[in-house]
C-alpha cells in the first residue's frame, strides 16, 4: 500500500494547479473546469483519508461533495450559456460591473 503522503501530494498539486487555473484563465468555461478540478482534488483527499484511517466519514463527505459539485457545475454552465447568449462573449475581463 502506498503511503498516504503520496496521495496527499497528488491532491495538493492538483489543487494548486487548479487554483492557478482559476486565477489565470481568461475564459469562463476554463474557470468552471478549474473549479471542478479543485473540488475533485479535495474529494480525492477525503476518500483517501477514509481509506487510510479506517473511518467511513471521508467517503460520506466525498459523496456529498460529488453531488453538490454536479449541481453547482450545472448551475454555473447554465449561467455561462445564458450570458453567452446575451453578450456573445466569454471573457472574464468583461465582467467588470460588480459595483452596486
Amino acid at each position: 500500500m502506498i503511503p498516504y503522503e503520496y496521495i496527499f501530494y497528488l491532491t495538493s498539486i492538483l489543487f494548486v494547479i487548479a487554483v492557478f487555473g482559476m486565477l489565470m484563465r481568461k475564459n469562463l468555461i476554463n474557470f468552471v473546469i478549474s473549479i471542478e478540478i479543485v473540488i475533485n482534488a479535495a474529494l480525492i483527499n477525503f476518500a483517501a483519508g477514509s481509506y487510510y484511517f479506517g473511518y467511513l466519514n471521508g467517503v460520506s463527505y466525498a459523496l456529498l461533495i460529488l453531488v453538490i459539485a454536479v449541481f453547482e457545475a450545472a448551475v454555473a454552465i447554465a449561467l455561462i450559456i445564458f450570458y453567452h447568449k446575451i453578450t456573445d462573449n466569454l471573457e472574464m475581463s468583461a465582467l467588470k460591473e460588480y459595483r452596486g
Partner: protein, 582 residues
C-alpha cells in the same frame, strides 16, 4: 446726603441732549443750565461739608463673599475739585454758545455733558472701580470730541491715536486696581490708603508704577505726550476743557489722591526724572511750533510736568493748588486762541501776525494769561510757583529756573508774534465770548491772593524765598528776550525758528510710533499667514482621507477576476493562520 446729586444734573443733560432735537429744545440751554445746577449743588455741598468727611457706600453687586461697592467721598479736596471743575466747565460752555453756534448742537452738547459728568464723577468717587469707570468714560468722550469733525482725516487719525494711547493708561489703571483689590479685598480708596501696611511691598511698587503709567498717559507726559498736540484737531472749546484744564489734569489728580501709596513705593525718583524730561521736550517743541493751539498744547504738557514734579517731590498739595490755578489761566488762553480762530480764521502765528491784531480787548487777557503761565508776579502763576517749589532741592531748583526761562520764552514768543502794537483789525464781539474771558482774566489777576487763605481749605505750604524771587526775575528775563527776538519785525525770527525746528525734529517721535505701528501690522500679518497654514493643515488632513479613500476604492473595482484573486488570497491567508495556530 446724597453725593450723587452732583452728578444727576449732568446725567439729565446727557439724556436730554441725546434724545431731543435742537429745534425742540436748545441743547445749549440744557447743557448750560444743568452745568450751573451742578455747580450750585457742588458749592452747597462744599459749604455744608467744609472740614468734614463723608463717605457714602452703595452696594452694586456681590459675588459670594466679595462685595463690589460704589462709594462717594465728600471732603475738602474732592468737593473743591468738583466746584472748580463745574465752574470752569460752565464758563467754557458759555463760550461754546458763541464758538459752536454753526455746528451740530446736539452732538456737541451731548458729548460735552458726557465729559463733564465723567469728570465730576471722577473727582468725588471713593471707589476704585467707580474711578475707573469715569476715567474710561472720559477717554471715550475725548475720543468722540477729538473726532468731532470726523470728515477731516487729521481729526480721525488724532482721535484714534489719542484713544489708543490713553487706553494704555486705562489698561495699567485697571491692572493696578485689580492688584490692589486682590490684596486688600476692598475697592474703597480711603480704606486702601489706610491699610497700606498690609500689602506686600512688591505689589505696592508694581501698582504704584502702573498708576504712574496711567497718569502719564492721561496727562500726556513722556513717553505718551504725542497724542495731545494732535488732539488740537478738536474744536477749541474742547481743547480748553478737556485738554488743558480738566481731563489731562486727572492724571495728576489721581497721583495726588493716592499720594500715600506713591510715597511708600519708592518710585518717586523715576517720576522726577520723567517730569524733567517732559518739561524740556515740551518747552523746546513749543519754541518751534507755529500753530497757536499746538504751542498751548505743549505748554499744557509743560505745566502738567510741573505738577508731576511737585507730586514727585512729596508736595501733593502744592501740585493741587497749581492744578486749580492752571485750569483757570490755561482755559483762558485756549478760549483766546479760539476767539482768534473764529474771528480771524487761522491758527498760524505768522498769518495772525500779518493781520495786525492789537486792540487791547485781545491782548490784555492774553498778556494776563501768558504772564500767569510764565510765573510773573503778581499774576496767578507766581503764587502757584510759590507752593509748587516748596520741596525742591537745590538741583531741582536750578533746573526749574531754566524751565521757567523756557516757558516764559515760548509764551511771550506767542504773544509778541501774534499781537501787534497798533491794531488795525475790525472786531465783532459777542457777549457769550466776553463773559468767560473776562471772568477768567480777573481771576488770573487777583486769584493769587487765594494762596493765603487756601490753607484753611487744604493744608498747604508755601515759601516766598530767594528761589522764588530769582525765578520771577528769570521769567521777566524770558519776557524781555522774547520781546527782543520776536517783536522786532525785521529780526530773522524765521531763520531761528527753522533752525530750532531742524534740531528738534527727532523729539517728536511720530516716526517711532509709526514704525511700531508698522511692526505690529507686519506681525499680525505673520500670525494671519500662520493661521492660514494651520487651516490648510487641517484641510490636508481632509484631503489625506480623500486620497486614502481613493486608494481603498480601488479594492471595489467591480472586476470579477480581481475579486477572485483577493478571495483566494484571503482564503490562503486564513488557512495559514489556522495552521500557525492563531
Amino acid at each position: 446726603m446724597m453725593l450723587y446729586l452732583i452728578l444727576l444734573p449732568m446725567l439729565i443733560s446727557m439724556t436730554l441732549t441725546a434724545f431731543l432735537k435742537d429745534k425742540l429744545v436748545r441743547s445749549r440751554l440744557i447743557a448750560v443750565s444743568m452745568t450751573s445746577l451742578s455747580l450750585l449743588i457742588s458749592s452747597v455741598f462744599f459749604y455744608v461739608y467744609f472740614s468734614k468727611d463723608l463717605i457714602e457706600n452703595f452696594s452694586w453687586f456681590n459675588i459670594e463673599t466679595y462685595t463690589f461697592q460704589i462709594s462717594f467721598i465728600a471732603n475738602n479736596l474732592h468737593l473743591l475739585m468738583a466746584v472748580v471743575v463745574s465752574f470752569i466747565s460752565l464758563l467754557i460752555l458759555i463760550f461754546s454758545v458763541f464758538y459752536m453756534r454753526r455746528e451740530k448742537q446736539e452732538k456737541y452738547y451731548f458729548e460735552m455733558s458726557l465729559f463733564i459728568f465723567a469728570m465730576l464723577g471722577l473727582v468725588v468717587s471713593n471707589s476704585f472701580i467707580l474711578f475707573y469707570i469715569f476715567w474710561e468714560l472720559m477717554s471715550i468722550s475725548s475720543y468722540l470730541l477729538i473726532g468731532f469733525w470726523y470728515e477731516k482725516e487729521a481729526a480721525s487719525k488724532a482721535a484714534k491715536k489719542a484713544l489708543i494711547l490713553t487706553k494704555v493708561g486705562d489698561v495699567s489703571l485697571l491692572t493696578a486696581i485689580i492688584i490692589l483689590f486682590a490684596n486688600t479685598g476692598t475697592l474703597s480708596i480711603s480704606a486702601t490708603l489706610s491699610g497700606l501696611s498690609s500689602i506686600p511691598q512688591v505689589y505696592l511698587t508694581v501698582s504704584a508704577a502702573l498708576f504712574i503709567i496711567a497718569a502719564l498717559s492721561k496727562s500726556a507726559q513722556f513717553p505718551f505726550y504725542v497724542w495731545l498736540p494732535d488732539a488740537m484737531e478738536a474744536p477749541t472749546t474742547v481743547s480748553a476743557l478737556l485738554h488743558s484744564a480738566t481731563m489731562v489734569a486727572s492724571g495728576a489728580f489721581l497721583l495726588i489722591m493716592i499720594a500715600p501709596l506713591m510715597y511708600v513705593s519708592g518710585t518717586m525718583v523715576y517720576l522726577v526724572l520723567i517730569s524733567l524730561i517732559t518739561i524740556f521736550i515740551s518747552s523746546l517743541l513749543a519754541l518751534e511750533s507755529v500753530d497757536t493751539k499746538r504751542i498751548l498744547a505743549y505748554s499744557t504738557i509743560d505745566s502738567l510736568a510741573f505738577m508731576f514734579l511737585a507730586v514727585a517731590t512729596l508736595n501733593p498739595d502744592g501740585a493741587l493748588f497749581y492744578l486749580i490755578m492752571h485750569a483757570v489761566f490755561k482755559s483762558l488762553l485756549f478760549l483766546l486762541a479760539g476767539e482768534l480762530i473764529i474771528l480771524f480764521g487761522t491758527r498760524n502765528i505768522f498769518k495772525l501776525r500779518g493781520l495786525e491784531i492789537g486792540k487791547p480787548i485781545f491782548y490784555v487777557p492774553a498778556f494776563i494769561g501768558l504772564a500767569s503761565l510764565a510765573g510773573i508776579p503778581p499774576f496767578l502763576g507766581f503764587f502757584a510757583h510759590a507752593t509748587l517749589s516748596y520741596n525742591f532741592s537745590i538741583s531741582i531748583e536750578l533746573i526749574f529756573m531754566v524751565a521757567t526761562f523756557l516757558t516764559s520764552l515760548f509764551s511771550f514768543r506767542l504773544f509778541f508774534t501774534v499781537y501787534h502794537k497798533n491794531g488795525t483789525e475790525k472786531i465783532r464781539e459777542d457777549k457769550f465770548a466776553i463773559i468767560p474771558i473776562a471772568t477768567l482774566s480777573i481771576l488770573s489777576t487777583v486769584g493769587g491772593a487765594s494762596l493765603f487763605f487756601f490753607n484753611s481749605i487744604i493744608p498747604i505750604a508755601y515759601s516766598f524765598d530767594l528761589f522764588l524771587v530769582l525765578d520771577s526775575i528769570i521769567a521777566l528775563l524770558g519776557l524781555f528776550a522774547a520781546y527782543y527776538f520776536y517783536s522786532n519785525r525785521d529780526f530773522p525770527y524765521a531763520k531761528l525758528d527753522k533752525k530750532l525746528k531742524s534740531i528738534f525734529r527727532g523729539v517728536t517721535y511720530d516716526d517711532v510710533l509709526a514704525s511700531t505701528g508698522t511692526a505690529i501690522t507686519k506681525f499680525s500679518g505673520l500670525v494671519d499667514r500662520f493661521e492660514g497654514a494651520l487651516g490648510e493643515a487641517f484641510d490636508s488632513v481632509g484631503s489625506l482621507s480623500f486620497s486614502l479613500s481613493y486608494i481603498s476604492r480601488e479594492l471595489q473595482s467591480g472586476d470579477l477576476s480581481n475579486y477572485i484573486v483577493i478571495f483566494i488570497a484571503g482564503a490562503i491567508l486564513v488557512m495559514i493562520l489556522m495552521l500557525v495556530g492563531v
